[in-house]
């Protein structure tokens, strides 16, 4: 069976913008590019949860954004269900970014979700039913209140609900439990693992700094460092790679990213 996601040779450089100091000296060279991703390739089977681990600046968010079509790679390709078409990819993925500013704060949570549901092509009835279903799943009873009155954790729940509005096959989560209290984080992890992945055969990619969280609910682990893919596989496979049969995920991570 074809993997849901095929990533081949993704490479991305970011060139620093022209500084004012250089501009007044007529030095129009744009500086040395920073390589955010360097020839990253992997395959992901349907129904798996992949943790993307890496130090700050390793390229985790860049990878998620390229898969989500928000960023164009310099080289390489992303195929979702065998297709590289942007429209198809957009319909099949739900991105929950770290950014909590991506809502209209003067609207209510429900009004925000209704707006994005229309952009995903959902009619009013379907959108209403879906928002009701998600509100129940996330135990949200404050959807009628203005977004700027929510706590960070409440906003996070809405970011997750928006990511799930169109029932995507692949969920991309950037630090999903950041700002959630312990119980909410636990409940979210349970929801992703049991409801989305096990019961509905969805696939998820989670960028996180938390080893415990990754270990708790991910099947596969990817370690990125300075844009390069250092390891990809199950914990057993990663242990073999670093030669530590009893090493914890944290120890494996430290060995793979030593020097960063």
């Amino acid at each position: 069976m074809r993997p849901i996601l095929e990533v081949d040779g993704l490479t991305k450089d970011f060139t620093p913008p022209l500084s004012f100091g250089k501009l007044i000296k007529f030095d129009l060279g744009r500086g040395i590019p920073v390589r955010a991703l360097d020839d990253v390739s992997f395959r992901l089977e349907r129904g798996k949860i992949l943790a993307v681990l890496g130090p700050n600046g390793a390229g985790k968010t860049t990878l998620l954004k390229i898969i989500a079509t928000l960023l164009l790679p310099d080289r390489g390709s992303v195929l979702l269900n065998g297709s590289g078409l942007e429209e198809k990819i957009k319909m099949s993925i739900g991105l929950v970014a770290e950014e909590e500013r991506s809502f209209y704060w003067r609207l209510t949570g429900r009004q925000n979700l209704e707006f994005f549901a229309a952009l995903y092509g959902l009619d009013r009835k379907t959108a209403g039913a879906r928002i009701g279903e998600l509100s129940e799943l996330f135990a949200v009873d404050y959807a009628g209140k203005r977004f700027d009155s929510y706590s960070t954790g409440m906003k996070r729940r809405f970011a997750l609900m928006r990511g799930l509005l169109h029932d995507p096959e692949l969920l991309l989560l950037d630090e999903p439990t950041k700002s959630l209290d312990y119980a909410a984080a636990l409940s979210l992890r349970g929801f992703i693992k049991e409801t989305l992945v096990k019961a509905r055969n969805k696939t998820a990619i989670i960028a996180t700094h938390h080893m415990d969280e990754a270990l708790d609910f991910c099947d596969l682990f990817m370690v990125l460092d300075k844009g390069r893919l250092r390891a990809f596989g199950t914990l057993e496979e990663l242990r073999k790679q670093v030669g530590g049969p009893t090493a914890t995920l944290g120890e494996v991570f430290v060995k793979l990213t030593a020097g960063s």
Binding site: L71, K90, R101, F103, R106, A118, L119, R162
Partner: protein
């Protein structure tokens, strides 16, 4: 098909109506600016009589329509760039572009509320003109006025979308916005007929669509000119639209691609 534009209109209406003082302040602003021109007319209006003969009105009537129409053009068509800038600053642009809604649909929908708001603005100008300043609009040729308005919106949309493309890439310092708002206001015949200007400026004015739009609108409203009589102005506006709209959409798509390559989609 209407789902996306309606969603944007609803969203923008809800946001705008949450700022309750803004609408009243807008009416007050229009009234104050008109009063200024009303007294300028009292003082200097007679000096412009020869330049206004063609339109058959006094200076105040001319400038009221010019401003009402230019405000429509300015707000309505600066709206593409202002909406992009506002979505970038709010952090919602990435979330919008993550959806499968196409770029032309998103662009059009983003500008709709501003166009509706500008129409309300124009209605305030006209209502104040009729009820407070007793201006006579009875000679209007409604068909000509509507066609000229439509062609003006179409041709300025092209410029507006190009402005939005600049904003997408450079975030600030949109040169077209400056041209639309300053140069066109000065030489396009908004505040006075272009015959007042020196010859070389009158020649330059011929290259700006606002010149044709204002002249055609003044003549259709105050002199009741038919479309046949306004064929030259309408033809120029049509030409500007036919050239600018496809070019601007291609330019905007290129700008989005450039922002996605630079990773600057969410920056502002």
């Amino acid at each position: 098909m209407c789902k996306i534009p309606l969603a944007f209109i609803k969203k923008d209406f809800l946001i705008e109506s949450s700022y309750k003082l803004a609408f009243l302040a807008n009416i007050f602003g229009v009234l104050i600016s008109l009063l200024g021109y009303f007294f300028i007319d009292k003082l200097f209006g007679r000096m412009l009589v020869s330049h206004l003969e063609e339109f058959g009105v006094n200076y105040f009537s001319y400038v009221l329509l010019g401003m009402a129409f230019f405000s429509y053009v300015g707000i309505g068509l600066g709206s593409f760039s202002s909406r992009i800038q506002s979505e970038q600053a709010q952090g919602t642009l990435e979330a919008i572009l993550l959806t499968p809604a196409g770029i032309p649909a998103i662009l059009l929908s983003m500008a709709l509320w501003n166009l509706i708001f500008a129409t309300m603005d124009m209605a305030i100008y006209i209502a104040l003109g009729i009820f407070l300043f007793k201006i006579d609009f009875t000679h209007i040729n409604i068909l000509s006025a509507i066609v000229i308005l439509f062609l003006t919106v179409a041709s300025f949309s092209g410029l507006g979308i190009i402005s939005a493309g600049f904003i997408m890439v450079f975030k600030r310092g949109n040169p077209l916005g400056w041209i639309i708002n300053s140069v066109e206001g000065l030489i396009g015949g908004v505040y006075f007929p272009i015959t007042v200007l020196p010859g070389w400026l009158q020649f330059l004015a011929k290259f700006f669509p606002i010149t044709y739009a204002i002249r055609a609108m003044e003549l259709s409203v105050y002199k009741g000119y038919s479309l046949a009589q306004l064929a030259k102005e309408a033809g120029f506006l049509l030409l500007f639209s036919a050239l600018l709209i496809p070019l601007s959409i291609a330019f905007f798509k290129y700008s989005v691609k450039k922002a996605k390559t630079d990773g600057s989609l969410a920056q502002y």
